[in-house]
């Protein structure tokens, strides 16, 4: 700013603010539009609705943790989500970059590569499932992909169907946990995707507190004793030796959940996913619980 220039007028400031407030459709894409994202929830959404994904972050881990949808081999790996390689993103040449509140601080740099579209799924005290539905719909409209609306309908129908299955079950609360080591685990409260899916399946989440919508501080395993009626649902990935050590622990064996066989081990699901992760979790949980109920 030069020394002599007048300060901004109130009208200019208001105009600027209104630009920030209203999500302006900066971008109109098609099915073939080259897209990229740092966020895993948006990545799986984009892959699931058949967008032309050219780059995603931390793909090595994504393939192990989220498992589905599959990442095509040609997609550029951008490195760590918290430490993305912007030059790799530049070389991938996306036409639009999808971003979330987790990586908002990267936005000014991302905007230099392509227009940035922000859709947040994990926000304090908000239902991530509802936000995921919203984001999927908006992304589908933006990219002109009808598969998005179909995905929403399918997942909602699937959850309704599985709610019927669950209604015939034992009505016990469910505690989704991610084991850190033989003595600590991570919980997923109402503001997590797993919590939101439990609610839609008509199941009670055994963990009553919120979990601050992101990586929660590890909880000691003795807290499991406070939820003797619950199903313990283990969600990998677990460290190599944690489960083995857990199974030899006297306290673990003495827990009513364990002695009565109310422990369920699922396949790996992304804890910060969107609709595909929600559907995957619901599917694995329904399958596991109904098999357990029916012997």
């Amino acid at each position: 700013m030069t020394a002599g220039s007048p300060p901004c007028t109130r009208r200019q400031v208001l105009a600027g603010l209104s630009l920030l407030a209203v999500p302006s459709p900066l971008f109109a894409g098609t099915a073939g539009t080259r897209v990229a994202t740092l966020d895993w929830a948006l990545l799986e959404t984009l892959l699931a609705i058949g967008a032309n994904v050219v780059a995603g972050a931390e793909l090595r881990q994504f393939r192990e943790v989220a498992v589905t949808p599959q990442v095509p081999p040609g997609v550029t790996d951008l490195g760590l989500r918290g430490l993305p390689n912007f030059e790799a993103l530049y070389h991938a040449g996306p036409e639009v970059v999808f971003n979330s509140n987790f990586y908002a601080s990267s936005e000014p740099v991302l905007a230099r590569i392509a227009p940035v579209e922000t859709h947040s799924i994990y926000m304090p005290e908000k239902d991530p499932f509802a936000l995921a539905v919203e984001a999927t719909g908006e992304i589908g409209e933006l990219l002109n992909l009808t598969a998005a609306a179909k995905l929403i309908d399918e997942v909602e129908a699937q959850l309704l169907r599985q709610r019927q299955v669950m209604a015939a079950g034992d009505g016990r609360p469910v505690l989704p946990v991610n084991v850190g080591d033989a003595r600590h685990y991570r919980v997923f409260g109402a503001d997590s995707m797993f919590g939101a899916v439990l609610e839609r399946l008509g199941l009670e989440n055994a963990w009553k507190g919120a979990t601050a919508y992101s990586a929660n501080a590890p909880v000691g395993i003795e807290t499991l004793a406070t939820m003797p009626e619950a199903w313990i649902v283990l969600i990998p990935p677990h460290p190599a030796d944690a489960i083995a050590a857990l199974e030899t622990s006297a306290f673990w064996d003495a827990l009513p959940q364990v002695s009565k066989g109310r422990v369920l081990s699922l396949a790996s699901v992304s804890p910060y996913g969107a609709l595909p992760a929600a559907a995957r979790f619901a599917e694995l949980l329904t399958e596991g619980l109904s098999r357990a109920w029916n012997g």
Binding site: G79, L83, A217, A225, P256
Partner: protein
């Protein structure tokens, strides 16, 4: 001495048993209180009762026992290390044993899961022994001078910590257990931890008793011991191995319990233990009681069944203050000799030298700006692609360079004010102090704004630096001692940071990002800020060349020359703190550039303050730019944060500096 000690003995003994009874009773009280205040288990009464009993007998009791045994093992290990090395500040934390063991375990867990078929203890022992061997090898030529040994140990710990953080960032999800481990949680679900530490502690105690006689002889001196037929080296090696094994076993079972082995023998000596036998047994006892008390407090203060913080993070808070307290009593086996006494050649034409340095700097800058990696390999980007990539590369290079220059300037001021050639913002704990300031800001405001973050960092840096200069001013500390005091202050600040990290939420993530010193997200705004801050803060230094030239000569000379010593020191300290805060804002607290760059300038032969400053600025900036460039190339597309990468260069340099024979 003997005549005086005799009549005191019985009274001492009575006092000691009184003390012991008091400590034992208060521990029992703590245990009962923990049981009494245990949260109520919900559910049907008989089930609740059953679970409550399990919690008491399978969680609370083994945890209490584990605290006692682990504390005893660490106390014993610390006492043995201190005795053999004749070093009252030796322990598993200060010698890098715990950090080495933990790094080995993290590497095994994250990179070579196949190694986990080996017992954890063996991996931990290998890592702990290796880093201990490095520390000893480095200080061997300085006759294992206590201060040098511990300084090397703390730096090895820092390098290991840098590597651990790099692993945490690189692996994301899997390292939750490393996190917990790193801070040493005593939480238990059965007696297996107790059963695995108990035989080791018993074996360690037995071996100590067997070695006690030769140990007593050794406390005379080497030649006396040899004339009595004791193989000094074999015994020493056996005792050291025993101590490392005890500490590594503890790390394998519960993680790092910071500085307990330092505190326990100190308490033992404070309570009147004098002989080797007294100190080892009293240290084991003190360690047991201390860890038990710390862990009980963490349980009592935490909400519900959760702890306030892991016991290891709580005891780590003891380390810094204890080191500072013990330091005046450490007898150095070496005189005051520092790297400053090494004669340096003087450049005959510093102007030409600066020009050469400038050209080299521009070459590095140009290369870092144009050469980069892509999926296709290394690529020189020119023309339109260069213009496209410039907005990504320029800000981070400017931020890295600006941070390097500011840290270099801060380091030079500190070296001149303290007259200590080993001073620097990182080694004096000033960067860590800035980190503590940031942690406080994050604690008070969830997402503080840039000015708030910078302000709190500058305040933390200034407080730490003023403390350090106050200490140097008060006593005739050698360069290494000041340095160790700084490292101790840094350890305290880092313990605070670890406590925030242990909370495992978004704040921890922000702090972790800062600690690793990432320049990745730097945009035009941050780059402009860093560059203008470096210009504004560095420019006055060129006007203060006279101060910088005569301050190292000492207060008397300064006053004689008409220098307002106190005011000059304060002004420069303030400037150094601001430079550190702004520099470590971009590059994190670990880089060691503030130490390395002024040294490079001196080694080349720039001696006049203005020349050294110019050269230090350019080498600091060049070093950071080169580090930043390499940090995004070596594991493309994954990146190593700049601060960590630079620490992996600066840490070994500092170790080399310490281990170098200074008496040439």
């Amino acid at each position: 001495m003997h005549g005086m000690a005799e009549p005191i003995r019985p009274r001492l003994k009575a006092r000691r048993s009184l003390l012991l009874a008091g400590a034992g009773l208060s521990c029992l009280g703590l245990l009962l209180l923990t049981i009494w205040l245990m949260p109520v288990v919900p559910g049907s009464p008989e089930q609740a009762q059953m679970l409550r009993e399990i919690l008491i007998w399978q969680s609370l009791m083994p945890r209490a026992a584990l605290g006692l045994f682990v504390g005893a093992a660490l106390g014993l290990s610390g006492a043995l290390l201190q005795h053999v090395l004749r070093n009252p500040i030796a322990d598993a934390s200060t010698l890098g044993i715990a950090a080495g063991a933990q790094l080995a375990l993290s590497v095994a867990l994250a990179l070579v899961p196949g190694l986990l078929v080996l017992p954890r203890e063996i991996i931990a022992f290998a890592g702990g022994f290796l880093s201990f061997a490095v520390v000893l090898a480095l200080s061997w030529r300085r006759q294992l001078d206590p201060v040098t040994v511990v300084l090397s140990g703390m730096i090895v710990t820092m390098i290991a910590a840098a590597l651990s953080v790099a692993l945490i960032l690189a692996r994301g999800e899997y390292v939750m257990s490393i996190f917990i481990w790193g801070s040493g949680s005593l939480s238990q679900q059965d007696w297996s931890g107790v059963l695995s530490i108990l035989p080791r502690l018993a074996l360690g105690g037995l071996a100590t008793m067997l070695l006690m006689r030769p140990l007593r002889v050794m406390s005379l001196n080497d030649s006396a011991a040899r004339s009595l037929g004791v193989s000094v080296h074999a015994i020493r090696f056996a005792v050291l191995t025993l101590a490392v094994w005890l500490a590594a076993s503890v790390t394998a079972i519960v993680g790092v319990i910071g500085f307990l082995g330092l505190a326990a023998p100190a308490i033992a000596r404070y309570c009147g233990a004098r002989t080797a036998a007294e100190i080892t047994s009293a240290a084991a006892l003190a360690g047991a009681l201390l860890l038990f008390a710390a862990d009980s407090l963490m349980q009592l203060l935490g909400p519900g069944f959760s702890d306030l913080a892991p016991a290891g993070a709580a005891t780590a808070l003891l380390g810094g203050p204890l080191l500072l307290l013990l330091l005046p009593r450490v007898r150095s086996t070496l005189g005051l000799r520092t790297a400053s006494s090494v004669p340096l050649q003087r450049l005959r034409r510093p102007g030409l030298g600066l020009a050469v340095l400038g050209v080299a700097f521009l070459c590095i800058f140009g290369l870092a700006l144009t050469l980069g990696a892509s999926d296709k390999g290394l690529e020189m980007s020119l023309g339109s692609e260069f213009a496209d990539l410039l907005p990504f590369r320029l800000p981070r290079l400017l931020a890295a360079g600006g941070a390097g220059a500011m840290l270099a300037a801060a380091g030079m001021i500190m070296q001149r004010i303290t007259g200590n050639p080993l001073a620097g913002p990182e080694v004096l704990g000033v960067s860590a102090g800035a980190g503590a300031g940031l942690a406080v800001a994050l604690f008070l405001v969830a997402f503080p704004s840039l000015p708030v973050m910078l302000g709190s960092m500058a305040a933390g840096a200034l407080v730490t630096f003023l403390l350090m200069t106050a200490m140097t001013g008060r006593s005739a500390f050698s360069a290494e001692r000041v340095l160790l005091a700084g490292v101790a202050a840094g350890a305290l600040a880092m313990a605070l940071v670890t406590l925030v990290l242990a909370q495992g939420n978004m704040r921890s993530y922000l702090l972790l990002l800062w600690m690793s010193g990432s320049t990745n997200r730097v945009g035009a705004l941050e780059a402009t800020f860093v560059v203008s801050a470096s210009i504004v803060l560095v420019a006055p230094l060129f006007l203060l060349g006279r101060w910088l030239a005569i301050l190292p000569l000492g207060a008397d000379v300064n006053r004689g020359l008409g220098l307002p010593v106190a005011r000059a020191r304060l002004a420069l300290a303030l400037l150094a703190a601001l430079l550190t805060a702004a520099g470590s804002f971009a590059a994190g607290p670990l880089s060691l550039t503030g130490l390395v760059a002024p040294h490079l300038a001196r080694m080349v032969g720039f001696q006049r303050p203005a020349h050294q400053l110019m050269a230090a600025l350019m080498s600091g900036a060049g070093l950071m730019i080169a580090s930043d460039w390499l940090s995004r190339l070596v594991i493309y597309p994954y990146q190593i944060p700049l601060g960590l990468f630079a620490a992996l260069i600066g840490g070994p340099y500092l170790l080399w500096l310490l281990g170098r024979k200074s008496d040439q």
